[in-house]
């Protein structure tokens, strides 16, 4: 069961990003942001990164970017150079980011407290449609909202068609076998070539969903060499083991 304790839920097991980690190190060392020399905590930051402890892997590149900046700052600090007050040094920039990020954390904490209080109050789960027919003042509707409404309609329509299609001749299981056979023969599938050979829009859709599902289940890997380039499908050797 999820805890309902008021207050900032600190994730002790990982950091949201490099700024989060830096602030943690600064506080841990009882340093003050305004007075800090970032070179003081560079080693510790790198050690964290190396241990991968508390690092959110999907954010890894962002952590690495900041590591590069820290190393650069450190290298600069080793070289005596005249201080140019007009110059925005990378250190000043990073410290500025940290100060700003600290504010964000404070606001987040406040919003979290407000969220907690509000969640104690229950609204009606669903209200009968008899009277409630919402109206929108035109001023409140932006072009994007209009686009979103159209998008929802198209989505709904697509879903209907998909249900209709799936009751037709093409089955996902058959398609899966066909794709695996093809991969066994050729080693890979060029997506656009493959689609071009299919007979109907129904077959294309079923094949496409089959491919998506197989990719999701790690049976296949889709590789796109460049933006808007062709997509190649390969069997996922690693994925076969857990199936």
């Amino acid at each position: 069961m999820e805890s309902e304790i008021p207050g900032y839920q600190v994730q002790t097991d990982f950091f949201e990003g490099p700024l989060d980690l830096l602030l943690h190190l600064i506080r841990k060392n009882k340093l003050k942001i305004m007075e800090i020399r970032l070179s003081q905590i560079t080693a510790e930051y790198l050690a964290y990164l190396e241990s991968k402890k508390g690092i959110n892997p999907s954010r890894e590149s962002d952590f690495l970017m900041t590591a590069a900046t820290l190393i650069y700052i450190k290298s600069r600090s080793l070289l005596p150079r005249p201080e140019n007050p007009a110059e925005e040094s990378p250190e000043k920039q990073l410290i500025h980011s940290l100060i700003e990020y600290e504010k964000i954390q404070k606001i987040s904490k406040m919003l979290q407290d407000m969220e907690y209080t509000e969640r104690l109050l229950w609204r009606r789960l669903e209200i009968g449609e008899n009277f409630a027919n919402r109206e929108y003042a035109l001023k409140e509707v932006s072009a994007f909202q209009l686009a979103e409404i159209f998008f929802d309609i198209v989505k709904k329509k697509e879903n209907e068609q998909f249900l209709y299609i799936s009751s037709k001749n093409y089955s996902i299981a058959e398609k899966q076998t066909e794709i695996l056979t093809l991969l066994g023969k050729n080693g890979f599938i060029d997506f656009s070539d493959y689609v071009a050979k299919l007979d109907s829009i129904e077959e294309i859709l079923v094949s496409f969903f089959t491919l998506l599902e197989m990719i999701k289940r790690h049976l296949l890997i889709a590789v796109q060499e460049q933006l808007f380039g062709t997509i190649s499908i390969y069997p996922n050797e690693a994925g076969k083991l857990d199936n």
């Binding site: 789960l125 035109l138 509707v141 686009a147 998008f151 329509k157 996902i172």
Partner: protein
């Protein structure tokens, strides 16, 4: 039950019935309140129903027993007022039905009523009329198919309302797909 307990329990019943979207089985509430005796429970309901709802002119709700369940509903003498309150039309307001229709005309123009109704899955005569009256859409011609249905397109007023210079400034569907599409496809294999 002492008076304090009675109050507490009635407050909880009110909250439960307020939140619930369907009638709630009395048995579930009895069990939850740990009341074993049906008579005792009925007494509680009677107090709530009569003393706290029916007899109080400042209350707009009543306790209803329907479909084997308990439910709060508005008092019947308020129905005319409620109907009047919720149907006040303000000239600048659009219903969701009108907005849906407008979005279809904007993206599929020129479009016929049949095409609009087909996309929305419901007859859209009402919203089309409404939008014509508000001058957000206009008839631009007739489709060359049997019956020669009217073709609708958006107007200059439409552009002004949405702060657009021309139709190319409407967000594209690709942009939206990117923004709103869930990454996770529901699994087809289970």
């Amino acid at each position: 039950m002492n008076p304090e307990q009675i109050s507490q329990r009635i407050a909880l019943i009110e909250a439960i019935l307020f939140v619930s979207k369907e009638p709630v089985e009395p048995g579930r509430i009895m069990e939850f309140l740990d009341i074993k005796d049906i008579e005792e429970f009925e007494k509680l309901l009677a107090i709530m129903e009569k003393e706290h709802l029916q007899d109080r002119p400042e209350r707009g709700l009543l306790l209803k027993r329907s479909g084997g369940g308990l439910q709060l509903a508005t008092k019947s003498d308020l129905h005319d007022d409620l109907k009047a309150f919720f149907t006040i039309k303000q000239s600048t307001k659009l219903t969701l039905a009108s907005l849906e229709t407008l979005s279809i005309v904007a993206y599929r123009q020129p479009a016929t009523l049949a095409e609009i109704s087909d996309m929305r899955g419901v007859n859209s005569t009402g919203p089309v009329k409404n939008l014509l009256q508000k001058k957000l859409i206009k008839i631009t011609g007739r489709k060359k198919v049997p019956g020669l249905p009217a073709l609708y397109a958006t107007t200059q007023e439409f552009l002004i309302y949405f702060g657009l210079n021309d139709m190319t400034e409407l967000p594209s569907l690709e942009e939206l797909t990117e923004l709103f599409e869930e990454k996770e496809q529901p699994s087809l294999f289970k």
